[in-house]
Subunit: 113 residues, 2 copies
DNA sequence: TCCATATTTCAATATTAGTTGAAATATTAA
DNA sequence: TTAATATTTCAACTAATATTGAAATATGGA
């Protein structure tokens, strides 16, 4: 993962509304949540939400799928893991240094890393 | 760690210059680096660097100490770990879900978590 | 003390980000 | 086809951020 992608991801999360949205999606897991319900449960207006979802999608932290007239958003766990890896990479210049970060979700018999 | 602190930390890192500074400090480890050398090795002007260091310090991602007329900055690993924890917290709403994140640095016989 | 070095502060400017409400688009149900 | 629902787009406005260069502050050495 390159510098620019990491900055994009961090910038996407560095905002109260988007952080709240992202955490909501992390908690709900891979099944995701439709835009309207995100708007409702976070108190963010639909128009503003759409703006923020674009940021989160663009940074690859969430993905979306269509289901009839709903747009279902869900957290993309692998992007987050790459970001975490980047931030702790090459820690302490070769001196004894351990850095691990794993995130595993098991839902509906399916493992999403 | 509360919402606002996490947003502050993420905002601090969501900027090319500051991300470069932070990674430089992570790589060098707890011994840190003086402002002038950071400026030199990242190509950020002293005045601009000072602005960014204030952001990073304010968000508690780096700390500073004085050594004669130098100001030595170093990464604060525990803040980063708290941020990582926050982002992966309560993953997948109670379903089987594992989230671990550790960062350990061993330098000069001293362990910095 | 006086000068050089290290860093920070400040003002000016340019750019980017977030919110609002109204209008547009798309899908489904009657 | 018409109406209702779900979501996105747009324009206008406001606020926050980043960069630059000059000046200020602080420390240490000659």
């Amino acid at each position: 993962m390159d510098n620019t992608s990491v900055v994009k991801a961090l910038a996407a999360l560095a905002q109260e509304s988007r952080l709240a949205i992202y955490r909501t999606l992390v908690e709900v897991g891979p099944s995701g949540m439709p835009a309207g319900k995100i708007s409702e449960s976070t108190g963010i207006s639909p128009s503003s939400l759409s703006f923020h979802m674009k940021e989160l999608t663009y940074s690859n932290l969430v993905t979306s799928r269509h289901e009839s007239r709903f747009v279902i958003y869900s957290a993309n766990f692998s992007t987050m893991n790459e970001v975490l890896g980047f931030l702790t990479e090459n820690c302490c210049g070769g001196n004894p240094c351990v850095s691990t970060s794993t995130q595993t979700c098991l839902i509906n018999e399916e493992q999403v890393s």
